[in-house]
C-alpha cells in the first residue's frame, strides 16, 4: 500500500516539475469579445490600417512587454488598445498590470540592471525626473527622427495638452502621455443647494453658502456641516482629510495639494540650491507653510474618524459614501463618484470647482510662478534597456493617436489631448460629471504636477514620518516642518545635491 503511495507521489512530483519546466504558456491573449467588437467599430480608414500593418511588418511576431498600474485607464490600454494594436501590426503586447508599489520597483530594477525585461513602462509624472537623471529612458522624438518609416501619420506631439511638457527635457521628448487628471475641490451640490441649509449658514456666518474660495470659508463650511451632521444624527462631516498616518498619500496631500494653496510651491524646496529650510533659502518650514500645515491639521476635527486611516482610496470612498460635504479629491475619482451607482451614493450630487486659495496664489499660478493644485498623470516611455525599441515605438504612437482618445477618456476619465475635450462623447459625459472636463480644460494651466525632484521617492520617504506624527497628534505642525526640512536637506546632501 505504501509503495503505491510512493510511486504516486513520485509521479506527481515528476509531472509537476515537468509542467513547471515546460515552456511558459503563450502570452494570455486578452480574451474579450467586446474588445474585438470595439476594434471592428474602430476600423480606421483603409489607408491608416495598412500603414500600421506595413510599419509593423518587420516586427510581426515580436512580443513587447510593459508594466503599468491596475487602474481603469491602464486596464483599458492593456485590454482594448493592446488587442487593437496586435491586430493592426502583428506585434504582441504583454501587459503586466500590478500594484502601485511594484509599478515603480520593477522598472527601476530592470533599468538599473539593464536586463531589458520591459519595452515600455508607465512613468508617473513625478518620477520622470528620477528616470531622466539616470538616463533610463529613450528620447522618443529622436528615435522617431532616426526611423521616419515608423512615424505614424496619425501621431503628432503637438496635439497633446500642456501635460506633455512634463516629459520633455533639452529638446527631447521622453514619454507619450496616457493619462492626466487634476485634483479639484469637490462638494455636495445637493447640500449646498438646499434652501434650509443655505439659510442656516447665512445666519451663522453672515455670507452665502457657496464652494469655498479661500481657507476661512473652507473652515467655516467644514465646521458648519460637521455640526449639522451631529445635530441631525447623520453620518456626515464637513471635510475629507487624506491623513493616513502611515501612508505616503498623506504627505502628498500636504505638499502637493494644501501647501500650494498657501503659496508654498515645489514642496518648499529651493530648486537651485537644493535647500529646504528657511535659514538656507528654502520654504518648507516658512511661516506660510506652517500656517498651511496647521490649517490642514485643524481640519481633522471636522473630518470623519477614518481620516487618519485614509489614503486617496478611502477619501474617495468617504466622499462617495456621502460622509463628507467637501474635500480635495483626485480627478480620476471624481468621475466615478459622480456617475457610478455601483460604488457611489451621491451620483448626480457632486459639484466640482477650483480649490480655495490664499491671496496672491492665483496671480502666481497665472504668471507661472506657482500653481493652485495638483496635475496628476503619467505617460508610457521606452526604457533605454529595452530590446525592442522600434516595436515599442509603434505601440506608444498607437496609444497616442487622436482616434483612440475619446473612448479611452470615457473608460478612464483621462484626457491628454486638446481635441478630446471637444469630442461629442466627452461633452456628453462632462454634464454628468458636473463639468469636471470643462474645469480641466479651462483651469488646467493653473495646476501643475510634482516638482522636478530627481529623488522624489527618497526625499518623500525621509519626510513622511514627521507628517505622520503630526497627524497622529504626537507633534505639532511647526515642529514637524522644522524636522522635515532638516531631514530633507540631509537627504539631498547625501545624494550629492546641494552643498
Amino acid at each position: 500500500m505504501f509503495r503505491w503511495n510512493r510511486v504516486l507521489g513520485f509521479v506527481i512530483v515528476l509531472s509537476m516539475l515537468l509542467t513547471a519546466c515546460a515552456a511558459p504558456a503563450a502570452p494570455a491573449a486578452p480574451a474579450a469579445p467586446a474588445a474585438e467588437e470595439a476594434a471592428a467599430e474602430e476600423a480606421a480608414p483603409a489607408e491608416a490600417e495598412s500603414w500600421w500593418a506595413e510599419a509593423g511588418a518587420p516586427y510581426a511576431g515580436v512580443t513587447i512587454r510593459g508594466i503599468s498600474e491596475s487602474t481603469p485607464p491602464s486596464r483599458y490600454s492593456a485590454e482594448v488598445l493592446g488587442q487593437m494594436f496586435t491586430e493592426a501590426t502583428g506585434i504582441n503586447v504583454e501587459f503586466e498590470v500590478t500594484s502601485w508599489d511594484e509599478m515603480y520597483n520593477k522598472p527601476i530594477r530592470d533599468m538599473e540592471a539593464n536586463t531589458g525585461i520591459y519595452d515600455f513602462v508607465y512613468i508617473e509624472q513625478d518620477h520622470i525626473y528620477s528616470y531622466l537623471s539616470r538616463d533610463f529612458l529613450t528620447d522618443i522624438s529622436a528615435l522617431l527622427a532616426e526611423h521616419p518609416e515608423l512615424q505614424s501619420p496619425d501621431f503628432d506631439f503637438g496635439k497633446f495638452t500642456s501635460f506633455i511638457d512634463n516629459f520633455k527635457q533639452d529638446g527631447g521628448i521622453y514619454g507619450v502621455p496616457m493619462e492626466a487628471f487634476i485634483k479639484p475641490y469637490l462638494y455636495r451640490a445637493d447640500l449646498f443647494a438646499d434652501p434650509d441649509i443655505q439659510a442656516a449658514f447665512q445666519e451663522q456666518y453672515g455670507y452665502e453658502l457657496a464652494p469655498a474660495t479661500n481657507h476661512d470659508q473652507y473652515r467655516d463650511i467644514a465646521e458648519f456641516f460637521t455640526a449639522y451632521g451631529e445635530e441631525n444624527d447623520l453620518e456626515l462631516w464637513g471635510t475629507t482629510v487624506q491623513g493616513h498616518t502611515g501612508h505616503p498619500s498623506a504627505t502628498y496631500e500636504l505638499v502637493e495639494t494644501i501647501l500650494p494653496t498657501f503659496g508654498v510651491y515645489n514642496w518648499g524646496i529651493n530648486l537651485d540650491t537644493w535647500k529646504a529650510c528657511v535659514e538656507n533659502g528654502g520654504e518648507m518650514n516658512s511661516d506660510k507653510a506652517k500656517e498651511g500645515f496647521a490649517f490642514w491639521l485643524d481640519m481633522l476635527q471636522y473630518a470623519p474618524p477614518e481620516a487618519t486611516s485614509s489614503t486617496w482610496d478611502e477619501v474617495a470612498a468617504t466622499f462617495a459614501a456621502g460622509r463628507a460635504a467637501q474635500g480635495w479629491v483626485y480627478g480620476e475619482n471624481a468621475a466615478w463618484i459622480a456617475t457610478d451607482a455601483d460604488r457611489s451614493v451621491v451620483i448626480g450630487n457632486v459639484g466640482v470647482a477650483n480649490p480655495p486659495v490664499a491671496e496672491g496664489v492665483i496671480a502666481d499660478a497665472e504668471s507661472g510662478a506657482g500653481y493652485i493644485g495638483y496635475y496628476d498623470g503619467g505617460a508610457f516611455g521606452i526604457p533605454y534597456s529595452s530590446k525592442n525599441k522600434e516595436a515599442a515605438l509603434l505601440w506608444v504612437q498607437f496609444i497616442g493617436q487622436e482616434s483612440v482618445q475619446a473612448d479611452w477618456a470615457a473608460a478612464g476619465a483621462r484626457i491628454v489631448m486638446e481635441s478630446t475635450f471637444d469630442d461629442p462623447l466627452i461633452v456628453e459625459i462632462d454634464q454628468k460629471v458636473s463639468g469636471y472636463y470643462t474645469l480641466m480644460r479651462e483651469a488646467g494651466p493653473l495646476y501643475r504636477g510634482a516638482a522636478p525632484l530627481p529623488f522624489h521617492n527618497t526625499l518623500r520617504g525621509n519626510i513622511d514620518t514627521f507628517i505622520w506624527q503630526a497627524l497622529a497628534g504626537e507633534i505639532d505642525a511647526a515642529t514637524a516642518l522644522d524636522g522635515a526640512c532638516v531631514a530633507a536637506e540631509e537627504t539631498m546632501l547625501q545624494l550629492g545635491y546641494g552643498e
Binding site: T245, G246, N457, G496
Partner: protein, 291 residues
C-alpha cells in the same frame, strides 16, 4: 558499510539549492553593504564607503526605534503563540467527536495569505467602516482608532499576528504530541502523579526538540514580519508599528538606498543569528537539565 559518500550524496541536492539561492545573494548583500549606492543619487553608481553605512546605523534613531519595537513585538507574540498553541494542541490531540472539524477550523488562519490577513484586519479595524471600531463604540463606548492611537495600532498588530500564526504552533505541537509514546505518561499517572507533574516532567522534556524548533521558526519569522503589518497600518501612526522588516523595506524600495539597506539587513541578520544562538544554548541547557 555505508560510505560517507552516500551520506553526502543524500545531502547534496539540499546544499546545492540552498547554496545558490541563499549563499550567493548573501555575499552580494554583504559586499553592497560597504558601498554607498542609491539609484537616484547624483551619480547613481555604487561608491565605496567602507564601514560608513554601519557607523551610520548605530546612531540612527529610525533603526534603533524599529529594532526595539520589533523586539517587544516579537517577544510578546512568540510567547503568546507558544502558550496558546500548546494549550490548543493538548485539547485537540484527544479524541472527541468532531475532532477533525475543529482541527481544520483552527488551522484556518494559517492558510490565509499574509497580505489578505493584513487586508482583512484592516477592513475590520478601519474607523468609520470597520466592525471593530463600530461595535466597540456602540457596545462599550471605546474609541478604537488605529490611525490615531499608537497603542491601539501596536496592540492590533500583536492580535493579528497571534491570530494568524498560532495555528502554526498548534500544528507542530500536535504532530509532536501525537508522536510521543503513551506508556510513560500512563505509567506515571498510574504511579500517582497528577496531570501537571506529568506535563512538566514528562511531556515537556520529550517535546523539547519540537518546542525549540517552533520557537525558532516563530522568532525568526516574527522578526521579519512585513506584509501583514504594512497593509494594516503602513508602519503608522507615525512610526509606532514600523518594525525592522518594514523599515528595511522602506529603505530598499522607497528610498532605493541599496547600500544602506544592505547594511541594515546584515546587521539584523547578524542580530537574529546571535539571538537564536543564545536561545539555542539556553534551551538545550534546560533540556539537558531535565534529563
Amino acid at each position: 558499510m555505508r560510505s560517507n559518500r552516500m551520506g553526502w550524496g543524500l545531502l547534496a541536492p539540499t546544499l546545492i539549492i540552498l547554496g545558490i539561492m541563499g549563499l550567493l545573494p548573501f555575499f552580494y548583500v554583504l559586499v553592497v553593504g560597504f558601498f554607498d549606492w542609491n539609484v537616484v543619487s547624483a551619480t547613481g553608481k555604487p561608491i565605496w564607503t567602507g564601514a560608513n553605512n554601519f557607523r551610520r546605523l548605530v546612531f540612527d534613531p529610525n533603526f534603533l526605534g524599529a529594532m526595539s519595537r520589533t523586539l517587544l513585538f516579537t517577544v510578546t507574540v512568540v510567547v503568546s503563540e507558544l502558550v496558546l498553541g500548546f494549550v490548543l494542541a493538548q485539547a485537540l490531540v484527544k479524541e472527541f467527536p468532531g475532532k477533525s472539524f475543529f482541527r481544520t477550523i483552527h488551522a484556518l488562519p494559517l492558510m490565509v495569505a499574509p497580505i489578505a490577513v493584513g487586508a482583512t484586519w484592516r477592513l475590520m479595524t478601519v474607523p468609520g467602516f470597520g466592525i471593530a471600531p463600530y461595535y466597540l463604540d456602540r457596545w462599550f463606548g471605546i474609541d478604537y482608532n488605529i490611525g490615531r492611537y499608537a497603542e491601539h495600532a501596536f496592540a492590533t498588530t500583536i492580535l493579528m499576528d497571534v491570530w494568524h500564526w498560532t495555528p502554526f504552533v498548534t500544528l507542530t505541537m500536535l504532530a509532536g504530541l501525537s508522536a510521543l509514546p503513551k506508556e510513560p505518561m500512563e505509567q506515571a499517572l498510574v504511579d500517582g502523579a497528577n496531570r501537571w507533574q506529568v506535563l512538566r516532567h514528562l511531556t515537556l522534556p520529550m517535546m523539547m526538540p519540537v518546542i525549540i524548533t517552533t520557537t525558532f521558526i516563530r522568532l525568526m519569522d516574527a522578526l521579519r514580519v512585513v506584509d501583514e503589518v504594512y497593509l494594516l497600518t503602513g508602519g503608522g501612526p507615525g512610526d509606532s508599528t514600523r518594525f525592522i522588516g518594514i523599515h528595511i523595506w522602506r529603505v530598499v524600495m522607497t528610498w532605493t538606498d541599496y547600500g544602506y539597506g544592505s547594511a541594515v539587513s546584515l546587521l539584523v541578520y547578524y542580530f537574529t543569528l546571535v539571538l537564536c544562538w543564545l536561545l539555542f544554548i539556553a534551551l538545550t541547557q534546560i533540556g539537558r537539565q531535565q534529563e
